[in-house]
Symmetry: C2
Subunit: 319 residues, 2 copies
């Protein structure tokens, strides 16, 4: 297994030029006061389709050969990866088919179709998603792009942290949400290259700490689908590529509770006027509550996305 390097992140950044938004880095003097530190929030909730996932999807698809482009791309996802693949395929003018479970939120199905993708609904209790995907890929010659465990996907995700370091310079610590590990492993490549002394922390929901367990055990540990409001981090296990890179480049894996995520959502809305999805709150929640000595430090926090239904947001943050 050949692991991607920072060179793959810089190559991805070139492919994303003019395609991905260069998202803003926002500051908050209230957040600085709360932590006694200087915080730099990299706001991927302002990325196209509302999450960092566009970076990895577009990078992967733009490396397709002419034959691959003609046949198109296949993905399974009920979340941000579906929209990222659909939008990237539309931009690059290739067909996209997305397998989505029958109980996926109608808004996400509509958004994915809105980007022009074919949505194939399957019954997650009766049908085997992997077999369905393999069948479709074989029949149509489509290329399957997984949501995180792929060198081009994770290299693309690393471009967000690259932009952060390029803009603000070196940092003492960087907090990154952790689901399957695409964002974290790519961010860690950027940190190692651009700010070698920076501590890199992945942050998971407390109820789904498979990454923390895996990091400490030194092997990939599988868990049942966790119950947490952080729906972007309900993965059951890390990938082969992402785990190898996380072991090599990450300093620790931390957790945050759902209550801490709600507190952070409210903070972002009230004090920084941003909508952040629960998963996007993981980094700040851990920076605030994990007990690390951050006083006087320069601290980066990656906000991964903002795709939360407004009613759900109101239930969680405005209650």
């Amino acid at each position: 297994m050949l692991l991607p390097t920072y060179d793959d992140v810089t190559a991805a950044a070139q492919r994303l030029q003019g395609q991905a938004h260069r998202t803003p880095v926002l500051r908050s003097s209230t957040a600085d006061s709360l932590l006694g530190a200087q915080l730099f929030f990299k706001c991927e909730n302002y990325q196209r389709m509302g999450a960092f996932k566009f970076r990895g999807a577009f990078n992967a698809l733009s490396k397709f050969s002419e034959a691959q482009r003609r046949a198109g791309v296949l993905a399974f996802s009920s979340g941000n990866h579906a929209q990222a693949i659909a939008l990237s395929a539309r931009i690059l003018g290739m067909p996209a088919a997305i397998l989505m479970p029958h109980d996926a939120p109608q808004a996400k199905v509509d958004a994915t179709r809105g980007y022009g993708a074919e949505v194939i609904i399957f019954d997650r209790y009766k049908e085997d998603r992997e077999a369905l995907a393999r069948g479709l890929a074989d029949k149509r010659g489509m290329t399957l792009i997984p949501p995180y465990d792929h060198p081009d996907v994770l290299a693309g995700q690393g471009t967000a942290a690259k932009e952060l370091f390029d803009e603000v310079g070196g940092l003492d610590a960087l907090f990154v949400p952790l689901g399957g590990g695409g964002l974290l492993s790519g961010s860690a490549l950027a940190a190692r290259a651009l700010s070698p002394g920076c501590k890199v922390y992945g942050v998971e929901p407390e109820a789904g700490n498979d990454g923390q367990q895996s990091f400490r055990a030194g092997r990939i540990i599988d868990i049942a689908t966790p119950r947490t409001i952080a729906d972007g981090a309900q993965t059951q296990h890390l990938g082969e590529y992402t785990f190898a890179l996380i072991r090599a480049n990450v300093d620790d894996v931390l957790t945050a509770t759902d209550a801490q995520l709600v507190e952070a959502m409210r903070f972002f809305a009230e004090r920084m006027k941003m909508l952040v999805e629960p998963t996007g709150c993981l980094g700040f929640a851990a920076a605030r509550h994990a007990g690390l000595p951050l006083a006087g430090k320069r601290v980066g926090v990656v906000i991964s996305g903002g795709n939360v239904d407004l009613r759900r947001f109101a239930e969680l943050a405005a209650a």
Copy 2:
């Protein structure tokens, strides 16, 4: 009456350097598609204390003489101006007293006190605010800074539009929320200097169109306090300075309905992940609904602030 010029805006920009945030200019491909235009949103909801008002307040206070600083600043406001003055006074190390009506929201009273200002509550039905302010100013030697009709205040507000033009270049049209006219008159000075062909539009709530009436009549027209969700634009009349500058530099004054403001609030939250207060939605609502020929044009929209209570936001936008 000596009217401020663009030189006062550039001088204000120098004073604000390192004090005000340089707020991001955000794009949305969905907004572009809706209007068939290129939109550039200048996001003053990300300004310190959550609104553009910090710019004008800080600019005015930083021009105080040593004697004025010692005695401090006086203001009356139940809204963003109160917090802007309180925060600016704290930064500059001078006393601040803010007169607030007895029925001001407790959160705003608390926020103003949180910035270290003395809050003086008066009964808006029994006491004369102006007389109270004059008495205090006389007794303590404090300098009164009004919320909009002041050369230094409006010159400071113009720095937001200056940053917008500096960042994106010339525009064909610029939409600016209009209450008392500080933001609009300052923005128009910047537009005239930096993008002379740009049409500049002020936008008021339909229920409070005193500015539109005044613009068309050629004299300041006074109205009763309008009923609208745009609480930052409930002013009853323009000021002497702001009206003169608006007459000279603004192309038209438009209006938006409360329903259009709610639609825009929801759009900003769902598609751009931003919390915008109703007043901050005026520009986009008019760009979308006022029937101007914007197809193919480069259009700037100033979002004035994001200070909306989360429950109120949920009632309006997530209903």
